[in-house]
Symmetry: C2
DNA sequence: TGCTGGCACTCTTATCTTTCGAGTGCTAAT
DNA sequence: ATTAGCACTCGAAAGATAAGAGTGCCAGCA
């Protein structure tokens, strides 16, 4: 289908790149000067005219320059654009930002989102659609007569906890029995299979009359369902306002409002990552988006791997006029780094860790 | 100083309330009709003129109505406005929103922020300037030969954890010794006092040659410093764009950018809560703000108590033209609810908790 | 056949005027 | 002290004009 002459391709690319940079319709004259083609503006006009009737370009009004259509962007992204390598500095910045601290999953994601927003100057979104998690190990810590802590080690290597205050007292031995029965019955068990019956059975097995089993099981279900349902977040929303296409407050507001609802973000299609040069990057251009609010924006998503089969997505939202190549490269690199950091979680540089913290601390108390 | 005739007060209030509602300069004619005063517009013009020269009102240009100045708002907030009670529905909504789940400190705060933003239609900010926390109890859970979990119970009743992978193996007995020495030496100790020497001493006490003590101490320091430094967050930033005063994207952008940096939020003055009718609400009007970016906005803050001496602030940011009374009432109510939920953390309705979770779960799997 | 210069035409954007109206301040009368 | 009346000011909206950018097409040329 795509039987475009080399010259047409070149011109289309030039139009898109120029438009990405200037946000203004680009005309034949400019093209004749800037693009490396050694032809006159009249020739270019003819080509532009054809590209327009092919549906790759459009003109806002009769006497304006050309603007890429969604189809134009699509073609550009799929076939025309070249994926640039990141500059050393940028790569280094990403590396250091991600390598900084080995914190929890969520904080890491948040940081990555902020980083992506900073680097691309577009709002960044992160969603971890971590598959179905299970508990690998239960621990109950007896604090005092009425208090204990539930500690769950999940198969995704996350640790979750909850402090429980009781209106009655409980003994350490009881907790030991309880944790034993939880470990025996609910390790590796998915959220859906933690049924009332099984809880009841466990309850009876240790003769638990105070409903402690149900408390622990309840927290487990809550935790699993929470990490099962995709967590979504957005950062750097204010950056939208920098884009000329969002000078109209109504537009900006509609999009920002849409984005700030995590429920909407989770609806983004997180499968079918194969386009854009083999890397795990996906580009949704304007009307390709299902959500009405995203129809004149584009979304670029990169998949990362969180180890243990879990995966998530980090991406940015911007006007259709985005520097797809640069943004895709950055996101891809960030996603890769994230995968490394999360999957290779085991590789905490342990020696010297304590010292590191100490020196950091010193600096802080100075300031 | 404030020797205003009753009529002037009434007029000033009327101007402010009208302006709050309409966002447009208000003139003498409208006032003559709406305000309950039985005088003509000419009389009101005279009064307006005086209020203007007193500095409480200003006119954008010679032939426009009057607009309140910061001083006008201040007077209104301090003396004129009446604190309305919340409607039953609103109170109920806040109660149910806060009582919903008894989660962690941070999540609770996030939820409260979202609630405040939704209820007031202004961006909400939350900051927990939790004083200096200490560890109340250390636990180390042995997972497998190379892995253990650090569990810290803080004096604020928060529980923090970290999964540690080791490049060498460690025995359960070692961990027991380590936790004993940590508990003995670092319970109730502030971040600043966890010095290298003390860590070294502890290390020697249990003959720890692998630096495990440092690892645990490092995490402790990290945790304490993190919860010591105020955590700040913002939600509902998009709502700003709804306000007429932020139709100019540049203004909106400047403020939103400012707000999205947590570091800036923490700089808000969180002391001196005494104005506005005895409740713990503080109003910063326009130029009263130190930050340049907040100079033509107002901030309303309400203090909440997180138990154990810790406290935080929840508030909203909006144009100086804010419905101070309503917003203050809402924030105050939310803050009170938050205090109750956090301080009275002990009062988890325990019986039936497990069942509750189960039914919730059922609903989810249905959809 | 394909490219180029030239030229008339179109349509937006910016700028400048004009008009309209709301609101004021002042004065004279009650 | 309050009010009615009136001239005046000034911004916002509407209309008019001018400028400029870009197109499409045609005729001539390799």
């Amino acid at each position: 289908m795509t039987r475009l002459s080399d010259r047409k391709k070149k011109i289309l690319s030039a139009v898109i790149e120029e438009y990405i940079a200037s946000a203004e319709p680009v005309g034949s004259k400019l093209l004749a000067e800037k693009a490396g083609l050694r032809v006159s503006s009249a020739t270019i006009r003819n080509e532009l005219s054809e590209l327009t009737s092919l549906g790759y370009l459009a003109q806002p009004h009769t006497s304006a320059g050309r603007v890429p259509t969604a189809a134009g962007y699509r073609l550009y992204v799929n076939e025309l654009m070249e994926q640039p390598d990141l500059s050393r500095e940028e790569a280094a910045r990403i590396d250091s930002s991600l390598a900084g601290k080995a914190q929890g999953h969520e904080q890491m994601l948040d940081d990555a989102g902020r980083l992506a927003a900073d680097l691309t100057d577009y709002p960044a979104l992160t969603l971890s659609s971590q598959g179905s998690d299970t508990v690998r190990r239960f621990d109950l810590i007896h604090v005092d007569a009425n208090t204990f802590i539930i500690v769950l080690l999940l198969s995704s290597n996350q640790v979750k906890n909850k402090l429980v205050h009781l209106p009655f007292s409980v003994e350490e031995a009881q907790l030991r029995r309880l944790s034993a029965v939880m470990n025996a019955n609910f390790c590796g068990v998915g959220e859906a299979e933690i049924t009332g019956e099984r809880i009841y059975a466990a309850e009876r097995a240790i003769d638990d009359r105070m409903g402690l089993t149900a408390v622990v099981a309840g927290f487990t279900i809550e935790t699993l369902s929470q990490s099962h349902g995709a967590r979504a977040a957005i950062s750097g929303g204010a950056k939208l306002l920098r884009q000329p296409e969002f000078q109209d407050p109504a537009k900006a507001h509609s999009l920002m409002d849409y984005l700030s609802d995590a429920a909407h973000l989770s609806e983004l299609p997180c499968d079918g990552f194969d386009c854009a040069g083999g890397t795990d990057v996906k580009v949704l251009i304007g009307p390709e988006n299902v959500a009405e609010e995203l129809r004149d924006s584009s979304v670029i998503l990169a998949k990362y791997d969180a180890g243990d089969g879990m995966q998530g997505v980090i991406g940015v939202v911007g006007p259709t006029r985005m520097d797809y190549s640069k943004v895709a490269a950055k996101l891809s690199y960030i996603a890769a780094g994230l995968s490394r950091a999360l999957a290779g979680n085991a590789g905490n540089a342990l020696p010297g860790f304590g010292k590191l913290m100490l020196t950091e601390k010193k600096e802080k108390s100075d300031s």
